[in-house]
Symmetry: C2
Subunit: 225 residues, 2 copies
């Protein structure tokens, strides 16, 4: 397809597509004349991923380039490419500051939690560092930060990850799976956070009204008492 059709099908303006091409976020089209290039389904898919990263994930152009470089790095195996690509996404919190007095205790809680969940501990994963920062804030501010408080988050995250890997495996080709893994990590994050807020409102409303089985169905059962 020509640039105009790529723009129409993706909903991204031709000016933005040209910008992504210049920035190396989109591979060049196949030259068909000195002024025209042809784009295929791969370009469309890549364009959708770039939009997900930048518009929903708030990823910078440089950050998106780092993610895509990992996705395309044929020198790595599939697992390393996925790990590197996802690790290049922005984290919920930066790593703990050098002078964070609670960081060593938070690190111990983070390691113990992951061991209880049966997960390998990978301290260099930026998500591990973000977890330590989050736990450090809980400790510093005196909010619950023990196994009883934290384990349900880990268990539910584990179940979610199984579901999410199954979603990713619906995509067949290895590179498409990698692109989907990155896109779904970014795109389902606001789904999860907004559903958490809505579930809290629903639960608070039920409890404060002394109303245990409200709602008009609850067939899924997830929010029932």
């Amino acid at each position: 397809m020509r640039l105009a059709e790529l723009s129409r099908r993706s909903g991204v303006s031709t000016a933005t597509i040209k910008f992504y091409l210049r920035e190396g976020l989109l591979p060049p089209g196949h030259r068909i004349s000195s002024t025209q290039a042809d784009y295929d389904e791969e370009h469309l898919r890549r364009l959708q991923l770039v939009r997900a990263l930048i518009q929903v994930g708030g990823v910078s152009v440089a950050g998106a380039r780092a993610v895509l470089t990992a996705v395309d790095d044929a020198s790595l195996d599939q697992l390393s490419r996925m790990g590197t690509a996802v690790a290049a996404l922005p984290q919920a919190l930066p790593a703990p500051a050098e002078d964070d007095a609670e960081a060593p205790a938070a690190e111990r809680v983070a390691v113990e939690l992951q061991r209880r969940l049966g997960w390998r501990v990978v301290p260099e994963n930026p998500a591990h560092q973000a977890l330590v920062s989050a736990l450090s804030a809980l400790l510093r501010l005196g909010y619950p930060c023990d196994g009883e408080a934290l384990l349900p988050y880990g268990e539910l995250a584990g179940r979610l990850a199984e579901h999410e890997l199954a979603l990713v495996e619906q995509f067949e080709a290895p590179t498409t799976q990698l692109e989907a893994a990155v896109a779904l990590t970014v795109l389902y994050e606001p789904v999860l956070l907004s559903l958490r807020r809505l579930a809290q409102a629903e639960q608070a409303s039920r409890r404060l009204r002394g109303d245990a089985g409200a709602g008009d169905g609850g067939e899924a059962g997830g929010a029932e008492d």
Copy 2:
């Protein structure tokens, strides 16, 4: 306690405490002379909440003031105060833009999802609007956005909300419960997001290695196949 002790116990500098006092984020101390004031445990707790909002939640000073105004609004019942305070926190995404062509379809998916979960639909909740924005992005970019993909997120959010309300109910006084509800909404968000990334890495590593029961224990079972 005096300002210096409040600073020592909270880890917040006296300059920052004075700034919060001027901005109305902290109620004035009890005057004991023309130059000195006395602060109590309530001030310490409130100071911790303000730190959670601003430092971890990335809430602006004006945003924090809106949250605290709702927490302190004695004209509202407990449920309304909690709802208003949590609704004043930043959302994962802004409401859909006026010209968002996918918003009506995303709205239908959001309503249907909450109905299946047995939740009351409250379209004016900012989290409902954030959910619609997130679903609109999934639809626009062609990623899975049906009940099969979304229901597990809602079910897990429902279970998390039950756990979180139980954590909040450990705090006894009504105002302390409200403060805890706000603080825990903000502070556990990065815990959840970083655990989700770690769980994804663990699951991807197990699946791609064809290694179903890895880890050194897995007593909690949440991440097992």
